[in-house]
């Protein structure tokens, strides 16, 4: 993310429980100011005159307490700290609980070209949502050449060199009822060093796919709204590569392979492609297996346990046989 302004914040398409319900009520000239940090400031201390360690590059959130204090200051005609607050290059002020700032405060904001925003949310709720939003905006991102699909609830990122059949594989998966998040370019975001969220690069161009021989297709129109999704956590990385007879592929399924995106390890499967191999079915199975693993069931390990148990009981039986022979 190179630059993020107040205007970008107002333009964000956030839905339902993420919605910030922000409106600009004054200081429109300040909408081009940049937000450079995901930190949020509650300006109680600065208003009381204490400006040390003042985080002047964060958004200033005025909750009920700050609003009451502003009223008190104005009633006492003590505007020094408010004026000083506006002398700092603060990105913007947000008034919560649907409250309006006083005309004096608005006039000061207009003078200094600082935007004042208003939200109907409670300050605690607003702070949480804003923090979450900004955290995502400032999260490290990476653009990847691949396809992101949701298969049985697992976000599967399919990568491989061009021409190996990523899009065709994804198309078959969608045909089987799975969902497309993005074809060709996937933007990955590292969310608080915890997990990776993948989405299309551009919401206007998302859910389109280029299939050699057919051209550009709109998947949402062709397969319906059930075939698409806006974003999804990446939980499995599938690498397609041309079949190499000399290479050793995983034959047991210990699942020790991992792929790293933005410093986060994602389980990976390497799938060799050759005519006659049904890649979508293999990916579906990999996704099912991944779900089983999340539930604590490791197919390969359980199988090995069964083999060990069987061998043990067989050797116990053999003991009997040996004993009988000697008697």
């Amino acid at each position: 993310m190179s630059e993020f302004t107040i205007l970008d914040l107002l333009d964000l398409d956030l839905k339902e429980h993420n919605h910030l319900s922000l409106v600009c009520i004054a200081g429109r000239t300040g909408l081009s100011r940049k937000i450079t940090t995901s930190k949020i400031s509650r300006p109680g201390l600065p208003l009381s005159g204490f400006f040390e360690e003042f985080s002047n590059n964060s958004i200033q959130v005025f909750g009920r307490g700050e609003q009451a204090y502003l009223q008190k200051l104005e009633a006492e005609h003590n505007l020094a700290s408010i004026e000083k607050l506006f002398k700092y290059d603060i990105p913007c002020c947000v008034f919560c609980d649907g409250a309006d700032p006083s005309p004096r405060f608005t006039a000061l904001a207009e003078e200094t070209g600082t935007a004042i925003l208003k939200t109907s949310l409670l300050s605690s709720d607003f702070s949480r949502r804003l923090y979450q939003t900004l955290d995502e905006v400032f999260a490290p991102t990476q653009t990847i050449h691949g396809v992101l699909v949701e298969v049985y609830g697992i976000g599967v990122l399919i990568t491989g060199e061009s021409g190996v059949g990523k899009s065709e594989t994804a198309l078959e998966l969608i045909e089987r009822g799975h969902r497309l998040i993005s074809d060709d370019t996937v933007r990955l975001r590292n969310i608080s060093d915890n997990f990776i969220i993948g989405m299309g690069e551009n919401p206007l161009l998302a859910h389109h796919m280029e299939i050699r021989g057919l051209g550009i297709l709109n998947l949402a129109n062709l397969f319906g709204v059930g075939a698409i999704r806006d974003r999804k956590q990446v939980q499995l990385s599938v690498k397609l590569e041309p079949w190499d007879a000399k290479k050793n592929y995983d034959r047991v399924g210990e699942g020790s392979l991992h792929d790293h995106f933005l410093g986060i390890a994602i389980p990976m499967v390497l799938i060799p492609v050759k005519p006659g191999r049904n890649i979508p079915v293999i990916i579906e199975t990999a996704a099912r297996n991944e779900r089983l693993k999340k539930l604590g069931y490791y197919s390969a390990k359980e199988f090995d346990q069964s083999v060990l148990k069987w061998l043990e009981s067989e050797s116990a039986r053999n003991m009997y046989n040996i004993n009988e022979e000697t008697h």
Binding site: M1, H145, S162, D184, T185, L205, H208, M209, E210, I216
Partner: protein
């Protein structure tokens, strides 16, 4: 590796047809092509990738060619940009 700056000089910017043109030319060479705009870096052999760059009129892209025929590829792609994709 060859790195060059190219400028979009056709009025409409890089939409579907110019993108298809770039991919067509790029596929003739045994080398990789990457295009960069701002923080985005995409594979130049993918139509959807090039379109998502959102390369508008007068914007500058960084072209990176890598492989055995990188010089020839860079020349060919640069020529496309200079001819305004024949628009």
């Amino acid at each position: 590796m060859v790195t060059r700056e190219v400028k979009v000089s056709n009025r409409a910017g890089i939409h579907a047809r110019p993108a298809a043109n770039i991919v067509k030319v790029a596929n003739k060479f045994n080398s990789e092509l990457y295009l960069e705009k701002g923080t985005m870096k995409i594979n130049g052999k993918s139509i959807m990738g090039i379109i998502t760059l959102g390369a508008t009129y007068q914007s500058t892209l960084t072209m990176i060619c890598e492989g055995p025929e990188e010089e020839e590829m860079a020349d060919a792609i640069e020529a496309l940009f200079q001819n305004r994709f024949e628009e």
